[in-house]
């Protein structure tokens, strides 16, 4: 069926989005009229086939538990049939709506990534699908099963090129995870982060293990908050459209807004993954958590990351309200409070996504991400004095013991200026990027014997709020070194863990990101060296956990989310 873009007369401006109504949080959250709180999303316009099926997302409504494949949805592809529909029962019982809801939220999350990154966001799984091995390169389309099986779980699976949303009963009600905005955004984020940094799913360190889950939580929560309807619904009604300053203190916002939203959102779905928003909102800042055993477990550790981001969000929100009444302690227009909150969430969301490009591709530490966050934002917004986003983030992260790994807070430019002489080619060709690495091996401090490859070269154009465009090219490279444990001493900075036999096979991962400006000069080289002392920590961590050389879990997030709900896995130290 042809999409509206193809039928638009030439003299009219070509629309770039279509409106689609989705559930703003989950079906249990009420809007003003007592019905379900819904919101209209601007979804990138594309030709849609029944499914919905587009260029990046294909909804396949297959229910494994009942072995039923439903006919693809064809209703509502051209026109939004659900405008102003808030009747809970009708929405919950309408299978077409489920498919459209999940499609719209996956696509919007994808578009949010692409908008922040200034380029297409790829998926990590290889092409092939039905024809495994027959199609080179990466897959373009992620499959989405909105009613995949009877299980209180939802997850992304790289191996299966898909997002799976389960359903289950709670009392007499059926709960659909595909109707929860934050669950959909969370799983989509896993798939997109995997596309940007596939090695973040490797076993490496407590931080890296926690990051995938924490980052997905942050994106999901901020995606919900950037919708002003959600913020509006969380404040008490009435009072002539004004909100008293007493309700806007940090603690009040935390208790009434964050915890309030968390409780509403979590009512039905806490069984899917607990309530990370609530747990993180109530986590009091302490620099000690990172060293405590309880927070070595990846879900708990992820909550530290989420807590730091939420604290920064509250801080920025209050900054934005400071000049318009908070300083003088006068009541502020409700609409303004809501608008400033939504904008703060939206900007932090963009910052978090952009930071990925400035983060090392392997062995990520929370400190690396903070540094990336500050640097990426500085590149686009050198002046942070108005709302103090970066100051708020740094303060919040430090309060949880997470410090930038560079004194200045931001990555340092390279010691010697490097320029690519074939920059046009480098923007398109991984081979050209590899040649650059080869020519500058010493200056970039690469290990000469490590296997080196360039997984991606990504030119991007980022736009700030004033319309200023920043052109950058991001080159990602990875180094792999295979050794016997007895050979580690050759690397000088890498130590073998206690009791590791000399014959043990050890694989070290290193890698980095080269950020070029629009003229081909290297602005930043963010790396995690294959022979740095960080490797000692990584090896010790894996060896002591008993995870060393364990095969990668193929469906990691299915297990991860299940364990998040059921409680932590047994201590790996006790296993053989």
């Amino acid at each position: 069926m042809p999409g509206p873009a193809l039928r638009t007369p030439r003299h009219k401006p070509c629309p770039r989005t279509r409106k689609m109504t989705v559930i703003a949080q989950d079906p249990s959250v009420e809007g003003l009229n007592g019905g379900v709180l819904t919101v209209s999303l601007d979804v990138p316009l594309e030709r849609l086939a029944p499914g919905p099926r587009g260029s990046r997302v294909h909804v396949i409504d297959y229910d494994v538990s009942n072995n039923v494949l439903y006919r693809p949805t064809s209703k509502g592809l051209d026109k939004d049939h659900y405008v102003n529909m808030t009747d809970r029962d009708r929405l919950i019982s309408d299978r077409n709506f489920h498919s459209l809801n999940v499609y719209a939220i996956v696509m919007t999350t994808l578009a949010r990534f692409e908008n922040a990154l200034g380029r297409r966001a790829p998926f990590s799984f290889p092409g092939g699908g039905l024809y495994p091995g027959a199609a080179p390169g990466r897959g373009h389309v992620i499959k989405v099963a909105p009613h995949a099986f009877v299980e209180a779980n939802a997850f992304y699976s790289r191996r299966d090129e898909g997002l799976f949303f389960g359903y289950f009963t709670s009392g007499k009600k059926t709960i659909f995870t595909c109707l929860s905005y934050d669950v959909i955004a969370h799983e989509t984020t896993h798939s997109l982060l995997d596309g940007l940094r596939s090695r973040y799913m490797d076993r490496s360190s407590p931080d890296q293990a926690a990051f995938h889950e924490g980052f997905a939580d942050v994106i999901a929560i901020l995606s919900v908050f950037q919708n002003s309807k959600v913020i509006d619904a969380s404040f008490p009604k009435g009072r002539k459209g004004k909100i008293a300053p007493g309700l806007l203190s940090s603690e009040k916002l935390r208790r009434s807004f964050l915890v309030g939203v968390a409780d509403e959102m979590g009512q039905e779905l806490k069984k899917v993954r607990g309530n990370p928003l609530r747990n993180s909102a109530l986590l009091k800042p302490s620099p000690r958590y990172l060293e405590e055993d309880e927070f070595k477990e990846e879900h708990r550790r992820g909550e530290i990351f989420v807590a730091a981001m939420l604290n920064a969000f509250l801080e920025v929100w209050r900054h934005r309200l400071w000049d318009i009444g908070l300083e003088e302690r006068i009541s502020i227009d409700r609409d303004r409070v809501v608008k400033e909150g939504a904008e703060a969430a939206s900007h932090l969301l963009t910052m978090a996504i952009r930071a990925i490009d400035y983060a090392p591709p392997v062995d990520l530490q929370f400190g690396d991400f903070l540094t990336a966050l500050l640097t990426a934002d500085h590149e686009l917004y050198p002046d942070d004095s108005r709302y103090k986003y970066r100051a708020a983030l740094e303060k919040a992260f430090v309060s949880f013991g997470i410090k930038s790994i560079v004194k200045s807070g931001m990555w340092n430019p390279p010691k010697t200026s490097l320029r690519c002489n074939h920059f046009d080619s480098l923007k398109r060709e991984p081979d050209e990027a590899f040649a650059f690495l080869w020519e500058n091996q010493k200056r970039l401090e690469l290990h000469p014997d490590a296997y080196t490859y360039v997984p991606s070269v990504r030119p991007c154009s980022r736009v700030d709020t004033d319309g200023f465009i920043l052109h950058e090219t991001i080159v990602e490279y990875v180094q792999i070194l295979d050794l016997k444990a007895g050979e580690l001493s050759r690397l000088r900075k890498v130590r073998k863990p206690n009791k590791m036999p000399n014959t043990e096979h050890v694989r070290l991962y290193g890698g980095g990101v080269l950020v070029f400006d629009e003229f081909g000069s290297l602005k930043y080289h963010v790396n995690s060296k294959v022979d740095s002392e960080k490797q000692t920590k990584r090896l010790k961590y894996l060896w002591n956990r008993g995870d060393f050389n364990q095969p990668q879990a193929l469906r990691r997030f299915a297990t991860l989310h299940r364990m998040r709900m059921l409680g932590g896995a047994a201590d790996t130290k006790e296993k053989w």
Binding site: H58, I60, Y62, D63, V64, S65, N66, N67, V68, L69, Y70, R71, P72, S93, R95, G129, L130, K143, A145, H147, A148, F149, V150, E151, A152, N153, S157, R159, D160, E161, G162, F164, Y167, F168, T169, S170, T174, K271, G274, G546, Q550, P551, R555, A558, T559, R562, M565, L566, G567, G568, A570, D571, K573, E574, K575, W576
Partner: protein, 434 residues
Amino acid sequence: MASRSPQSLIIRTYQVGFGDCFLLSFKYASGDRHVLIDFGSTGLPKNGSVGLMRKVAKAIENDCGKKLHAVVATHRHKDHISGFATSKKKNGTGDLIASLKPDIVIQPWTENPKLKRDATGPGKTKAPAGGKRLYVSSLSELQEFTEFALDNLNAFSGMIESSLLNELTFVGDDNLKNRSAIDNLITMGKNGKGRYVYFGSKSGLEKILPGVKVSVLGPPTLQQSKEIKSQRAKDPNEFWQLRQLQEFGPGSGHRRRLFKSARIAKNPIYARWFREQAARVHAESLLSMVRILDDAMNNTSVILLFEVAGKAFLFPGDAQIENWSYALKKKAICNRLKKVKVYKVGHHGSLNATPKASLWPLIAGARKTANPQLVTLLSTLAGKHGNKSRGTEVPRQLLLKELEEKSQLTATNTFKAGELRRPVTISLRSRKRK
């Protein structure tokens, strides 16, 4: 009272394939006392499997002189209790064991048939605040979940790898209710003969085995250890997720489509690959949940420590670290574990039933590789449980290597064809001071 103490102990390890069956015969001047620990199997060896369980039952009858003094069923997994099942014709292996008239039957506290469904410990009858569903009923319902999970397997055949299907079938089968065996254990334990034990409780063997100190090191009650809870939902009231499957899932007797009026697609080309992937995903989910149940059930295992003449003998069933944790937090118990001379390897040598960091060093740590005094007993069958590529094979090769290096290992998977049992004799005579 040296004269009342046993002079020696014979521990017989029976060949039951993938299962456990041990007979402890304490030799007293007044006559022998026999304690049978478990009798079950979920997979028999290829050679000589015909009638094997019956042969083992007969061997037990013979070895104990037609009188058992005690039966211990460490937990309700099939590989530990299937031999106690009876038949209508009264000629089942369980009928034979019952005819040996054990004086007491020891089981974990979770098996007490008089226990309220909402009990958190052996003496508790009230539900905790909030009217939460509790451990015992959850375990029972989980077994029902397993029944329909297995029932549902046919839907996946042809869509998933046979290895995955086999593993799911195997683990699931072990977790079925084993009704007949459970009923027989209850019957044998009637008239005050049943002992439902927990950490620190009396074992009931005090009068049967004079001169032998028998301590119950597990399972803890829920009040004693919250760590058993961590095997389950954080919310202690439920394995609700599994119950939902039971209530709403396929094979539960009321299979129903979510959207009755929705139109169904047949098998379009675009969906074929993804359907198979989704089936595999779901089968793995079921396997993962059945494994959680498996672990939870393993952690109800009775752990018995027999001590006599300065020697200790440890029989932990299939207990994993969550069961062990409570006992291992106590220094005095750790010191006593250092005297273990015979260790029955937990859970057929799986990766997580001989806690590597907290238990094994106590048992084996001080001993040198040469001339080992530690005896280990392993009842197992390779290729039945777990997966080598995932590092979950049973017996776990790393553990097996350690056992071979640091102890005298008796492993049933090395028994010759037709070898029904292998005894180990330990002298219990106290050394006289010079």
